[in-house]
Symmetry: C2
Amino acid sequence: MNKNKRVTSYDVAEAAGVSQSAVSRVFLKGRSVSKKTREKVLATAKELGYKPNAIARMLITKRSGMVAVILSSRANLNYPEVLSLLNKRLSAKNERVLLFNLDDADGLDDILEQIWTFQVDGVIALAAHFDNDSINQFKDHNIPVVLYNRRASGHSASSVCCNHEQGLTELVSLLDDNNHKSYLIVGGPEQSDVAQERLDCSINALAQKGHHKVPVRYGDYSYESGRLAFAEWMQKNKAPTAVICGNDTMAIGVIDEARENFGLNVPEDLSVVGFDGVSAVAWHSYRLTTVKQPLEQMTKAAVDILLEQIESPDNPAQLRVWSGTLIPGNTVAPAKDES
Amino acid sequence: MNKNKRVTSYDVAEAAGVSQSAVSRVFLKGRSVSKKTREKVLATAKELGYKPNAIARMLITKRSGMVAVILSSRANLNYPEVLSLLNKRLSAKNERVLLFNLDDADGLDDILEQIWTFQVDGVIALAAHFDNDSINQFKDHNIPVVLYNRRASGHSASSVCCNHEQGLTELVSLLDDNNHKSYLIVGGPEQSDVAQERLDCSINALAQKGHHKVPVRYGDYSYESGRLAFAEWMQKNKAPTAVICGNDTMAIGVIDEARENFGLNVPEDLSVVGFDGVSAVAWHSYRLTTVKQPLEQMTKAAVDILLEQIESPDNPAQLRVWSGTLIPGNTVAPAKDES
DNA sequence: TTGTATGCGTTATCAA
DNA sequence: TTGATAACGCATACAA
C-alpha cells in the first residue's frame, strides 16, 4: 500500500524485470506481447496495484476519452432520462461524460473555455442558450459537436431532433377534428430554441386548419408556470376550449389550474395537449394527450454520429430527425357547441 | 486557424519573445509576472488562440480538477435535482463532474477501475449498490469520497445524510395521532441501502407506537411499482388504512391505484405518506404528505466536505445529518372507525 | 517480440 | 522578475 506515491509503469517494469514499454504494451490491446511476459507483467501489476494513468495517456494520444454534455437545468423535464441514456451509450463506447450546466447565457464563455482546455473528444449540447456563434467556435477548435433537439443553421454541426412539426401537426389535427375553434398556446421560455420551434410549429399547424391569431402565453417549462399562464389568461379573457402547451409539465399545470381554480373539467370543458411524453403523463390523474419523443433512438443516434465525427472529422455534418409518437391519452374531447 | 496543430505555450512564447515559463506563469494566479510581459503574453495568446492544456497540467500538478459522481438511474426521482445542484456547486469551486452510472452491481468494478485511472480528485457516491468493501478501496487509493444518503460503517468515509429516522418518526406519529391501526409499508428496492434504512426506520417508529408485524411490499421506486405493490396486496388482503411508502413516486402510484382500481378515496378511506419532497408532491391531484430532504444544504455540505478532504487528506471522516421537513399535504386523515 | 529513446504540454525548481 | 531544465507517466518509432 504505497501511500504517497502512485505506482507507475516503471515500477512494474522494474519489479517484473522487463522494460517500461513492455508494460505499456500489455495494457494496450492489439500489441504484440509474448504470453510469458504478459502474464508476468499482469501478475506484478496486480501485486503492486498498478493502474495505467489515463491523464498521461491522454496527453500522448490526444484523446481524452471524455465527451462534454452541456445541459440547462431548466430545460425539459425529460433531460434526466436523456442524460442517463447518453451516459449509458457513451460508456459502452468507452467514453466518459463530463458534465456542464449552462443556466445563464453569460456562463457560456466560461464553459466553452473549459471545454477547450479539457480537450474533450466531442460535445453533445442540450442547452437552451446556444447561438450559432458558439457553435461555430467548435468548428474553429476542431471539435465535433452534436446538437440535441436544436438545428444548426448551415452545416456547421450535426443535429438529432424530434420532428416537432409532425408532432404538433398531429396534435393540432386531433384538436381540429374535435371541432375546437378557441385556442390558447402556452409556450416554453422565449430564449429556448426548442420552445420557439414548437411555438412556430403550433401556430403554423393551426393556421393551416384555418385558426389564425391564436393567443400565446409563455411559461418556463415548469408546472407552476403552466398554472400561472392559464390563470393570467383567464383573468381577462374567456376560457379557450383547447390549450396547446410547450411541454408536458406545463400542460399538467394548466390542467390542475383549470380544474382547481376555474371549475373546468378536463377534457369535457377543456382539452389540453402537451409535448415530450414524460413518465408523469401516464399518471391516472392526468393521462395527458401528448407526443412522445423517441429518446432511445435519438440518444443512440447522437452518440453514434458523434463518435463517427470523432473518428472521421472530415465527414460532413448530418441531421437526423425522428417522428414523435402520438399518445392519445385522455385530455382531448370534442369541443362543446358554443352557439 | 491552425487546423492540425494545437497552439502550445511554446508557440506563444516564441511569438511574444519570452520564455515558455513566462507564458505558463501568466496563466497561473499568484505568480510574479511583470505587468508588461503579462500584457504582451496575453495579447499574443489571444491572437494565436492559445488555451492552456488542462491534461498536461493535470499530469504535473496531480490534480485533475474532476470529481466523479456515481449514481444509479433507478435511484430516487430526486437525483436529477441533486446532480444539478452538485454540478453547480462543484463548478463554483472549479471542479468538473465526471459522471458514472452504476446500474448493476457487476459494473461496479469497471467503474472503480476507471475512477482510479482518471485520477479524479474525489468522489461523491449516490449509488444504491455500494458495499463497504468498495468504500475501503477508495481509502487504499487515497482518494476522498463522500457518501450521499448512505452511512459508511466505521470511519472510512464521510457521509451526508437526511435523517430518515426523524422524518419517518414524524410521519408515523402523524398517522398514529390520526388513530391509524392498520398499516402497509411499500419499501424501495431491497438492494438499496437508503431503501433499507427507510424501511427499518418505519418499522421501528411503528413499533414504538405499538404497531407490530406491519406487512411490507417492495417496489423499485417507480410509479408503476407503487401501483403494483398496492394492487398485489389488495388481491389477498383487506385494505389498510394507512400506507407508508419508500419514496414519493411510489406513494403517488399507490394513491392512483387505490383511487382507480379499488374505489378508495385518499385521504378519507386511505392515508398515504411518501418521502423525498419531489416537485410532483405539490401537484393538485396529489398534495402528498411527505418529508422533504434539504437538498440545498445536503449538496452544499457534500461538496464542502469533499473539498476539505481533498485539501487535507488526513482530516478525519465526518458525518453530517440533516432533518427533513414535514410537508403536511393532504393525504392523511383520521382513520375510519373499524368497529 | 523486446528494449531504447523521444515526445506529449504543462508546472516546479532553481539559479541568474 | 525571468529563463533554463527537469519532472509528470505514458505511448510510439525505431533498432535490435
